[in-house]
Subunit: 101 residues, 2 copies
DNA sequence: CGTGTAAGGAATTCTGACACG
DNA sequence: CGTGTAAGGAATTCTGACACG
């Protein structure tokens, strides 16, 4: 879980270049709870590469005409599934070591 | 080769936080050719996670009292070795496919 | 609803230089 | 040699708002 891909270190200007989205759009999607940047002490937004990918997904969905609320629900579903997979993997690993003991 | 780790997307302020080095130090190491950030169109420095790791290495060496010129030479040696390993790996892969054909 | 834009302010970054040593 | 700092300017980012639709 995590490493470079999930480290929040990219400022909004760079994210804008990377995704082709305007800063306005990126901030709006945050307002709509599709994306969750961190902040520096002074309030600057910081994004991860995962966030960049997520924004690309959002951009694709938007192009298809999907509304932000729908996208939000889809993303939440994805996030849940991912969490479940991670938990199962963790369980597998624990089980493995329990047997081996 | 490359991916997130080598993508230059981190501004100097964040790099400073990540490494514990002052911006002055980071810029100076660039001046001494130890580190090679890219620039945005408007001239802002952009670093990769690899650069951050490299700066941590530099910081350690500096703490040991190693001068920047020495560190530079060491890093160049490392970079060369890495390149060679990559070339060899590439050769291996090519050979593999040649045989398989 | 989703996005553009102008507005004013605050934080960031840049360079060249002086300082110490 | 390596780093701190003050200086002045330019670029970045932030928020809240008006606009269109």
């Amino acid at each position: 879980m995590s490493s470079y891909k999930d480290k929040k270190v990219i400022t909004i200007g760079i994210v804008s270049e990377l995704t082709g989205l305007s800063e306005r759009q990126i901030r709006y999607y945050e307002d709509r709870k599709l994306i969750f940047p961190e902040r520096t002490k002074k309030g600057r937004r910081k994004y991860s590469f995962s966030d960049v990918e997520r924004l690309m997904e959002i951009a694709n969905k938007r192009e298809e005409g999907v509304q932000t609320f729908e996208i939000k629900k889809q993303l939440q579903r994805q996030d849940n599934e991912k969490q479940i997979r991670e938990k199962m993997l963790k369980g597998q690993i624990n089980a493995h070591f329990r047997i081996r003991k």
